[in-house]
Homo-oligomer: 397 residues x 2
């Protein structure tokens, strides 16, 4: 390496595996920083590939592709959890810097490993078991009571990979095929929850951490439809406790980058549901709603830059996902829906991902910032625009 000159104005390249909306929004954040985001995807029509000139085509699961992809980049990072750990480990042995590292990422890739690790360390979670066959599920169900929630340790997202098992008969009917494809499953008790929360934290290799305000996430059929930040009705003390817990987890697991901790609020305390080690849907509101977005922060964290302020830009920030719906035949095309949305809400911030509208698919999100007085109204208005864009359900007068 040639020594850096004082006139050196080069800035680093971050190599991100995956070309979905997270990579797309990370590219958007990389532009002002002057940092280059390089993207790996096998589909040139992918969300991020449509807007980035630094797209490489290839399989993110192939070690030699990954090695070539990492060459010249300061760090390798991920917009999803599907890169095999073995592939990341082989790169790490060759000196590639991967953030989060394979050691950390195993707990985002494998729900069972995450539950076991966090429970051993004393973190709260719903009661769970690792099970290897249907009989074990039934034995535990009879012992603690039905229904049970069954999850595949890997690969689930947006409600996929999760089943509610009502009783032994359902277990007999549904689970054998699952055990054919999964050596072990995670089974947990259904806890009566008031709502779901998310803690979003970023951590740098240096060890600096920064947490955004705790966010309420609203799920429908396992898919996040809305977030509200800061989470309504959460005291400063409880917020601080949850933030501190997220920071401890990030530190203990040596996470680098953004990490989301999905939480069940069971009234008075929280249980940890899942971890994600990348920018996360619960943090999309930070693009306009915080001084530093999760996408900028992820880049700063993996590059070991000092982290940015996570301060709110408004008393309330509401985000609603745009889910593609069954658009009625007589609904106007998206371009026209966008016109109406802008006329209806001049302050709404629209994010469309360039994705094909397949029913149920997240194809965008919208965000509104609001004053201190009007949260229920803000939530309703934000959601309305999201539903209108996604499925053409009419906007009221």
């Amino acid at each position: 390496m040639t020594p850096k000159l004082s006139s050196d104005t080069s800035l680093p390249t971050v190599a991100m595996v995956g070309g979905g909306q997270l990579a797309r929004m990370t590219h958007q954040a990389a532009i002002p920083l002057g940092v280059t985001l390089r993207i790996l995807t096998d589909d040139p029509g992918d969300s991020a590939a449509l807007v980035s000139p630094s797209t490489r085509l290839g399989k993110g699961s192939d070690p030699s592709t990954l090695l070539e992809f990492s060459r010249g980049a300061a760090v390798l990072t991920f917009d999803h959890e599907h890169v095999p750990l073995d592939a990341i480990r082989s790169l790490e042995r060759k000196g590639v810097k991967a953030f989060p590292s394979s050691d950390a990422l195993q707990y985002a890739q494998d729900k069972l490993a995450m539950r076991q690790r966090l429970t051993e360390a004393g973190y709260p979670a719903p009661p769970f078991r690792a099970v290897a066959d249907v009989a074990e599920v039934i034995t535990w169900g009879e012992e603690v009571g039905w229904p049970l929630i069954v999850k595949t340790p890997r690969g689930g997202y947006d409600g996929k990979g999760v089943w509610q098992i009502a009783d032994a008969a359902v277990a007999h009917a549904e689970l054998p095929s699952l055990f054919e494809r999964n050596r072990r499953l995670l089974v947990e008790q259904r806890v009566p929850l008031m709502r779901e929360l998310a803690a979003l934290v970023a951590r740098s290799p240096y060890g600096q951490v920064a947490c955004w305000p705790i966010t309420e996430t609203v799920q429908r059929d396992g898919i996040c439809v809305q977030t509200v930040a800061p989470a309504p009705g959460l005291s400063a003390e409880r917020s601080a406790e949850i933030e501190a817990m997220a920071i401890r987890i990030a530190t203990e697991l040596n996470v680098v980058g953004v990490m989301a901790v999905e939480l069940f609020d069971i009234g008075g305390r929280v249980l940890i549901n899942e971890l994600a080690m990348r920018p996360h849907n619960s943090g999309h509101w930070t693009i306009e709603g915080a001084a530093t977005s999760q996408f900028e922060q992820h880049l700063r964290a993996v590059l070991d830059y000092p982290l940015g302020s996570t301060r709110l830009r408004a008393p309330h920030v509401v985000m609603a996902n745009v889910l593609a719906g069954d658009v009625p035949k007589d609904a106007p095309p998206l371009d026209e829906r966008l016109h109406h949305a802008f006329a209806y809400e001049p302050a709404i911030k629209v994010h469309l991902y360039g994705k094909e509208f397949r029913p149920g698919r997240k194809v965008g999100h919208v965000t509104m910032l609001g004053g201190a007085a009007s949260l229920p109204d803000l939530r309703e208005r934000t959601e309305r625009v999201a539903v209108w864009l996604g499925s053409g359900a009419p906007l009221p007068e």
Copy 2:
């Protein structure tokens, strides 16, 4: 054209001539809208070309290149004023929609045409003359008093194309060569001004207009170094008057897109200095500081979408340009300067344009949002970071 189906989720393409930082930041704004920004530049290393996959290489002055470039785009627009009007007119005759149109753009391209048109319509400006030779300059100088300001009608920016002429002797020495290259020059009286202001307005083909708060711009050697929004000490009444004037000008000239009106504040009233019909340096603060940035608004305006809210996100927004300086030999490289800047000001928003650092060149800008109490401090801190990034002048403890 095939009829649009209700399931049509395509969104339009905007074709922008020029690949500088304005196109770069417009691309950044196009990403969330799902709109495609296509860029024309003759340099693949241009600021916008570095971050956009929709770059076409070619000369923006060539009519056949422009026609090919416009094909399939909903509208043609510009990141600079250097596209010949004749070329735009020939496209318009072929049915290409150009915003701003050639009829509007002539007043941004030709300062003399602008001054004459606006003065005839009764808008205030410094006293001026169109002059064809040195004798005319001297006659007028002797009549109204020296010094005079001489400007080339076309092509000037960032202090280029502007000369102060102290007396007849200087006029004899400096101006003949200028008249060789310019049939006519604009000569104006130097007005004693308190400060400079800018009004930023967007207008759509439908006729909708939206104005951001009036901004104070601080110039040094003809280059904008800092902006403060809203302009300090400007009463609500005077702000409203200036906004109304900018809106009237945009409407009378049939401008479509963002227009900046550069103003001299001479105490109690303003004079119009120049017009720009594109996103403008005086509006870079809107990226974080307003609900809708000038770049998003320009796209919405030229596409005839309803315009977005121009509401402020904080009581004060300060922007400082990063001007490349004579970086000392022992100054750390840019990457390290960026680290220090982030550590020093965790809330600063950095925008680097990917441009080579040549002394005096605008290579980026930084923005800070601040509370009601601390404007002088905010200005000093923002400027400090800009100077540090641009030239390595040390940050104080």
